[in-house]
């Protein structure tokens, strides 16, 4: 277990911890990988620059799983964090220990939403393109977002307000001004997305639904099977992009280099074989295969089409509703042995988070569940989260 704590002694109501996917110039950035162990970047993430300019202190870095696409960070080269027999997430542990007011994370494959949901925290994965990805270790660029996690929604809202905004250094950054919506009136409860959830999650959903209704929000049940295809398509897109993005780590210019090799091909192979973990290797193979000439049209291109179909399905839902309510994960905690029986958990448990990842729609985790809204509804989703928080207190 490793939570960077170099500066954690500083108690401050402006203390922020960033995860190890955000590049820093005064602390190493390892992205949870032996490949980048001790890597010092020449520049820092845009989100960090904006936080500093607004009086926030970056007091430390939280460990992540290798390139942060696993369940909760268990694939880190520093090992999994396990407490009371349960898998934990470094950023969530930092927040629960009150060592920072918020963490800023790169949400690649649902880790942030899951960690918040399981630890009774609030997290927002903003509308794709509203927060600059400049200075984040690239994994699945078409869906990953710089996100915020905190003990309460109001802090998430405040921090998001600081890091959001157009950045010329990111070609996918949206032009300002962003017209954030507000006021939740109608929420769709996506029944088809409740597959596989346990009783506790089911209860969380019911109680959130009740809270909304109590506050005059209309909640309607809705079935949409297309959205259930999200993680199948997302796994293809994510692994393909990941395969390409991590190909730069070859042991030549920086990062881990094997000690023994003869020739350049062996240098590449040995360095990568030694430094990359099992899940990463498996994902690289999957991604590489998806992009092969033979499979591109059959697999990758089809996933891109499914992405569009899912976006259209959501657009239809948001024609009538302000937000969609669904689980963030199947269970409130993963036992130590969870991964033994669910070896592909990173590619199955993202059933609940992939809809937001693949569409770039904003998502908020609160009270153990998840709300997804249309583009620029980030602040509105956080308003709804605040309703839930009030109810809990």
């Amino acid at each position: 277990m490793k939570i960077y704590s170099s500066k954690l002694d500083k108690k401050s109501d402006k203390a922020i911890v960033v995860d190890d996917m955000l590049l820093t110039v005064d602390m190493p950035t390892s992205a949870g990988s032996k490949m980048l162990d001790g890597y010092m970047s020449l520049f820092e993430a845009e989100a960090i620059t904006r936080l500093k300019a607004n009086g926030y202190d970056i007091v430390g870095k939280a460990d992540v799983g290798e390139f942060s696409f696993d369940l909760l960070g268990e694939t880190s080269c520093n090992g999994a964090i396990v407490k009371d027999g349960k898998l934990c997430n470094a950023s969530a542990e930092i927040l629960k220990a009150d060592e920072a007011v918020a963490t800023v994370n790169l949400e690649v494959n649902g880790t942030v939403i899951r960690a918040a949901a399981q630890n009774d925290l609030c997290a927002v994965k903003p509308t794709y393109g509203t927060v600059s990805r400049y200075g984040t270790v690239p994994v699945a660029c078409s869906g990953e977002c710089v996100s915020v996690m905190s003990r309460n929604a109001s802090v998430c809202r405040e921090v998001l307000g600081v890091i959001a905004g157009h950045d010329d250094k990111d070609g996918t950054s949206l032009p300002e001004p962003y017209e954030y919506t507000s006021g939740v009136r109608r929420v769709a409860f996506l029944k088809s997305m409740t597959q596989g959830i346990d009783g506790e999650i089911s209860e969380k959903l019911s109680s959130f639904k009740a809270t909304l209704e109590k506050n005059g929000v209309e909640v309607c049940e809705l079935d949409d099977e297309v959205i259930c295809l999200s993680n199948i398509a997302w796994n293809i897109l994510m692994s393909s992009e990941l395969c390409n993005n991590v190909s730069r780590y070859d042991g030549v210019k920086y990062g881990h280099r094997a000690e023994s090799f003869s020739g350049i091909d062996e240098l590449y192979t040995n360095s990568r074989t030694e430094a990359f973990g099992e899940l990463l290797k498996k994902t690289i193979l999957f991604g590489s295969d998806n992009l092969s000439t033979e499979n591109y049209m059959k697999v990758y291109d089809k996933a891109l089409r499914i992405r569009r179909v899912i976006s259209e399905a959501f657009a239809k839902i948001f024609g009538e509703f302000d937000a969609a309510l669904m689980p963030a994960c199947s269970t409130l905690s993963y036992g130590e042995d969870y991964l033994q029986s669910n070896k592909d958990a990173a590619f199955t448990e993202n059933f609940y988070t992939a809809p937001a990842s693949i569409t770039g729609l904003p998502a908020v985790a609160v009270g153990g569940i998840q709300l997804i809204g249309k583009a620029f509804s980030d602040m509105m989703l956080l308003e709804a989260a605040e309703l839930c928080e009030k109810e809990g207190k």
Binding site: L23, A31, L36, S41, L42, F43, A45, R133, Y134, G135, T136, V137, P138, C141, S142, D168, K169, D170, G171, T172, S240, E241, C243, N244, N245, S247, R248, D250, V252, K253, Y254, I264, D265, Y268, S288, L291, S292, T293, Y296, Y300, L304
Partner: protein, 480 residues
């Protein structure tokens, strides 16, 4: 049996933008120290995101329009993955699915007449770095200056059939792209490189033979030799069964004059193209499209015809000058000052082009103050400066762009004297010193006059109106 060679070219041209395609590093690496123009983005370090340089798209569109292509109004960038030490991110950002320009046409003219070469597509991409092999230390160094320098790749259809056609086609591309000022196209500088795809088939056949590709050719002469060698090798294989032809990439060794198959490892592979999610599709709206179209230059042949019809130049002169946009610009500027197209053309063709040839400078690299050239031409045509002295001034003008011809001639004593007394005195002396030549001339030898004339002109340091000297000289001899 008679055979025909079928050739298609992939020509890589470095675009002459100030900065690289996705970052703000300088794109001018020729002559720089290794790794002088690099940043975390073009070195492929994690966390930097590509932001498309709009000028690159401008230039890509312009190149497409010069080659009569259709411009794709939505053009996208894609990633091409492969491992090589000169490619720092292990992928090249290029255009695979929707290149900026498609379906073009380039007309070439060879000894066999005119011919159209179809352009399949032009795509924009980033260049790779450069490996420098140090034989003494047995090490290889990598220079990332060239990494992410913008390129266009111009892919032709297999419409070329000889080394001559290839040479003319490459010259034509260079001429068109230089007219549009989008590229230097200098093979010696590496700003134009060429992959040659070649196959051979019986004349008249509609089936293609087995195709081989020779990559990264960087001199016209080498390309011509390689085409001749490959053609002969293919025919030999077909006729005599000396070897089995396979579709492969070959390396041309220009010193040995042979091509070699590359190791299969170097050619095998799957580039795993996919759309780059970090680069949004570039949408070319009407306003943008029109602004580029409005900025297109006059095409070389339009200029040529105008020079003939408007300025009265001979076809030969017009052809010579329109070989290069630099010569055209020099001509037009000099003409605007001296008002004589014939004089301006003469000075450029007989003097400037020969100085460039002597100094081994390509016409395109011409750097001269053309306005001053026009003034110099005027000084000569007005009889104020002798032609021989004017040539000296012109030569100096190549080295100093600030020379004002009139002041320079005054300072160097190149101004023609109108002092007839002085000329008469010089002539009298010359006649007195060379009675034999005078006698020869009187005896009918025209050449003898030129010898005395030359001596007089030399004595006068060239500063005499030739007609005046001639008249005075003949008068003086006739008086004897």
């Amino acid at each position: 049996m008679k055979y025909e060679t079928v050739i298609g070219l992939e020509v890589h041209v470095e675009l002459a933008t100030e900065s690289k395609i996705f970052c703000s590093c300088s794109a001018h690496s020729y002559g720089s120290e290794p790794n002088e123009h690099v940043c975390p983005a073009c070195c492929g370090m994690p966390g930097m995101l590509p932001v498309v340089n709009k000028r690159v798209v401008d230039f890509g569109m312009k190149a497409g329009m010069m080659l009569n292509c259709h411009i794709n109004r939505v053009t996208t960038f894609d990633k091409k993955s492969y491992y090589y030490p000169d490619l720092p991110a292990a992928y090249q950002t290029t255009q695979w699915f929707a290149p900026v320009a498609v379906n073009g046409l380039v007309e070439i003219e060879t000894s066999k007449g005119k011919k159209n070469v179809r352009i399949k597509q032009i795509h924009m991409e980033e260049d790779a770095g450069k490996l420098v092999h140090d034989i003494r230390e047995d090490t290889t160094h990598v220079d990332f200056n060239r990494t992410s320098v913008p390129l266009i790749e111009i892919v032709s259809q297999p419409d070329l059939s000889s080394a001559e056609e290839v040479e003319v086609y490459l010259d034509r591309l260079k001429n068109l792209l230089r007219f549009a000022k989008v590229a230097e196209c200098e093979m010696a500088h590496g700003t134009m490189r060429c992959d040659v795809n070649l196959s051979v088939r019986p004349e008249g056949s509609d089936k293609y033979g087995v195709r081989t590709e020779m990559k990264n050719m960087n001199s016209i002469e080498a390309i011509k030799r390689a085409i001749e060698y490959e053609t002969a090798r293919h025919i030999d294989a077909i006729e005599n069964g000396t070897e089995v032809l396979v579709q492969e990439t070959r390396r041309w060794d220009d010193i040995k004059g042979k091509s070699y198959a590359m190791r299969t490892k170097e050619t095998a592979g799957d580039y795993r193209y996919f759309p780059d999610p970090n680069v949004m599709p570039v949408v070319i709206d009407d306003e943008w499209f029109d602004s580029i179209q409005d900025s297109l230059p006059e095409f070389p042949e339009v200029k040529r015809d105008r020079y003939i019809n408007e300025y009265g130049l001979s076809e030969y002169d017009a052809d010579q000058i329109t070989k290069s946009i630099a010569l055209c610009e020099c001509f037009e500027e000099a003409y605007s000052v001296c008002k004589s197209a014939k004089d301006a053309a003469n000075w450029i063709i007989s003097e400037i082009m020969s100085i460039l040839n002597k100094r081994m400078i390509t016409y395109d690299m011409l750097k001269i103050n053309a306005h001053a050239l026009g003034e110099l031409i005027l000084l000569v045509s007005d009889g104020k400066v002798g032609r021989a002295n004017a040539k000296k001034v012109l030569s100096d003008m190549f080295d100093d762009l600030t020379i004002d011809p009139l002041k320079y001639c005054e300072a160097n004593g190149y101004i023609v004297s109108n002092d007839t007394g002085l000329v008469e005195k010089v002539v009298a002396e010359a006649i007195a010193n060379d009675p034999k030549a005078v006698a020869d001339y009187k005896g009918g030898k025209e050449k003898a006059l030129m010898s005395i004339y030359g001596k007089c002109m030399k004595e006068l340091k060239g500063n005499c109106d030739p007609q005046m000297l001639r008249t005075i000289l003949i008068d003086a001899i006739n008086k004897i």
